[in-house]
Each structure stands twice: as C-alpha cells, then as structure tokens.
C-alpha cells in the first residue's frame, strides 16, 4: 500500500505543511491553487455531510474513497485539519492521524517556542519524526 501525501491546514485555510512520500500525478494547476481546491472541497463536504445526515447534525467527516485513492481527514476541535491521501486499500486511519496530531504535531510543533501559530511549519525535527512514523507503518512504500 502507498501513502501519497499529507496536508496540514489551519482553520483559516492556510496550508501549514505539505509532505509527499510517493509520486503524485500532476493535476495541471499550481500547488497553491491545488491546496486551496482541496481545502474548499473538504470544507464543502463537511457541511454537505452534516446537512444530509440522517442521524445527527454534528456528524463528523472521516474521508472518502475512490477506485484509485482514499482521502482521510482528521479535524481537531480548534479546526486544524490533517488530510492524508493513501491508495484505496487502506483501512480506517483515524487513529493514525490522531497519533500524528497528539504525539508529533503537538509535541514538535506546538511545543516549539520558536513556532508562531498560523505560520508554515519548517521544523526539521517534526519532518523527521513524521517520516519515521509513516515509514514504520506497514503500508508505507517508497
């Protein structure tokens, strides 16, 4: 199985972090535009799912699957979104994304005194820890 890429967005639609592990198809638009498109899509999907929900109006959005890839999303109460693309064979990765949030993002980004909220993450330690964690997973391939 393959993990393609990970995006971290804050609640103001700015992409704080992007990391890519596998070759990704060019979609013909600039990376900035692509991230805006992705954020917009996730944002509308979230409102769509809560409007259509037969159960509760607070239904959370977990992700979607297509025949080629699967998108997983984890949203924190403060609105930070972790979006991970994997291939379609992956199972439920909510726990993994939660681990990335609590054990890697909070530890190496939020607790970093030099990090200002809402700015791009350029901590090498964070990238290293994230890579180690993703590579330790059985589905990771180069």
């Amino acid at each position: 199985m393959v993990a393609y890429n990970l995006y971290i967005f804050d609640r103001n639609c700015s992409c704080l972090f992007y990391r890519q592990w596998a070759k990704v198809k060019e979609c013909g638009i600039s990376p900035e535009e692509e991230r805006k498109l992705l954020y917009g899509m996730v944002y509308s999907l979230k409102s769509l799912l809560s409007r259509l929900s037969p159960v509760s109006t607070r239904d959370g959005f977990i992700g979607y699957s297509t025949d080629k890839y699967k998108l997983h999303i984890y949203e924190t109460p403060t609105g930070t979104k972790f979006i991970l693309n994997t291939d379609h064979k992956a199972g439920d990765l909510q726990e993994m994304l939660q681990h990335i949030y609590t054990k890697i993002y909070v530890e190496y980004v939020i607790k970093n005194p030099h990090y200002k909220l809402g700015t791009t993450i350029d901590s090498q330690l964070f990238v290293k820890e994230l890579d180690n964690y993703i590579q330790s997973k059985p589905f990771f391939t180069k």
Partner: protein, 234 residues
C-alpha cells in the same frame, strides 16, 4: 437503520429523483420563564427559523442535547409556527423578542431537507465529484465511490453517460455497490424505456418508484433490521 435515501443526478448536475426511506429524527422542547432567551442564536433559513448556535443539554443524560444546531422552530407555547409566523400573524422572532410573551415554551424539530436544499446539496456533490477526480494522486481515477461520515456513508456510482446514483446508508448496511447497480438496472428498465420520459428531466414514473421500494425493502430485510417505511413523493 440501513438505507436512508436514494438520489439520482443527471449528467448536468441536476437532481432528477429523490426518495426517502426514513426521515431524520429528533425534537425537543425548552421553556424560558424570563426574558430574554439566552444562549440560543436563531436565524431565518428559507421558510424556517433554524438554530444557528447554542445547544440545550438534557439535564438527565449528559452528552445528549435535547436541541441541536440545525433544528428548526416548530411551535411556540403549543401554537404551530408556519412560514416563520404564528397563526395570529405575528412573526415568531418578534414573539421571542417580546418580554410580555414570557414565560415561553419553544419546540424545535429536525426537519427533512426541502426540495430546494436537496437540489443545492446534490449539485454541490456533483462538482465535488469532479474535483475529487482532478485532485487524484493516481492517473485515471473515477471519482468518489464512498463518502464516510462518523455515523453513515454516502455511496455514489456514475454511469458511462454521466448519470449518478447516490445511496445514503448506515454503516452496517452490506452490499451497497450491488444495490447501486440494481438501481441502475431499474432506471434503465422503467425510466429510460418509458416512452413518455425525456432525458435529464425529473423522474415521475410510478412503476420505477414501486420497484425501487421493493428492491430497497429486500436489501433492508437482508440486513435483518425492523423499520417502518415512509414513502416520500416530495
């Protein structure tokens, strides 16, 4: 619950068919003895007054709010609110803002999506479907097959001609892709072969609806659930 609703979207993104197997549940009543109503933010949405912010918690069970965001105001002191107004012609919001109408009892209910709302949501899904193909990290993706929320899934399939079939189903419902194919089969048998049906127009074929209900029933039974079917003809 197994299957909640079925939608069909034409290739242009218009909703041409919708059918509900069950309606969203949930209602609650709250009483205020003194002016003003605190903690609730109400907003006019279409013909309803909807709760925009603030939940009313159940004093007995924590974590299970009586009134949730998204519920609409249905009655004040037992009098129904229709078109944002009470039977005597006063608007509901003016009654809530009037100190002399207290103590006041507000009843909220989760309403089913109006047909306008459905059309809007489905055209949204139509464009999101296209974006998901564009953003695919792999070549040749066909778009969203299953949208996952915490408590339910939305399953989609697109035919070669661009018509989309959408089934909103519970997490425990098995064989949904098979059901989608079955609905496609019914669509081609009872809608496309109907000489009075013109392409991309709303589907109003009794035979199609009747057969669809039959198929949905059989899939429901397969799941082994007991439910009361409420047939909706919008």
């Amino acid at each position: 619950m197994g299957i909640y609703s079925v939608y069909i979207i034409s290739k242009a993104g218009g909703l041409i068919f919708s059918h509900d197997m069950s309606y969203p549940q949930g209602e609650g009543e709250v009483e205020y003895s003194r002016y003003p109503v605190q903690g609730l933010v109400l907003e006019e949405v279409d013909r309803n007054i909807m709760l925009k912010y603030g939940e009313v918690q159940n004093p007995e069970i924590t974590g299970q709010p009586v009134i949730q965001v998204g519920y609409s105001l249905v009655s004040i002191n037992g009098e129904p609110v229709v078109n944002k107004c009470l039977p005597d012609g006063r608007t509901a919001l003016s009654v809530i803002d009037d100190p002399s109408s207290f103590p006041i009892k507000l009843k909220f209910k989760r309403l089913k999506a109006s047909i306008n709302e459905r059309i809007m949501l489905m055209s949204m899904l139509h464009s999101i479907y296209a974006i998901s193909v564009r953003l695919s990290p792999e070549e040749g993706s066909k778009g969203i097959q299953c949208l996952e929320a915490q408590h339910y899934n939305i399953n989609c399939t697109q035919t070669r001609t661009g018509v989309k079939f959408i089934v909103v189903a519970g997490k425990s419902q098995p064989k949904v892709p098979e059901l989608l194919r079955k609905i496609y089969e019914l669509y081609s048998d009872y809608v496309l072969k109907n000489p009075f049906y013109s392409l991309d127009m709303p589907i109003k074929c009794e035979l199609f609806t009747a057969n669809l209900v039959k198929v949905l029933d059989s899939y429901e039974r397969e799941r082994g659930s007991i439910y009361s079917t409420t047939t909706a003809n919008n």
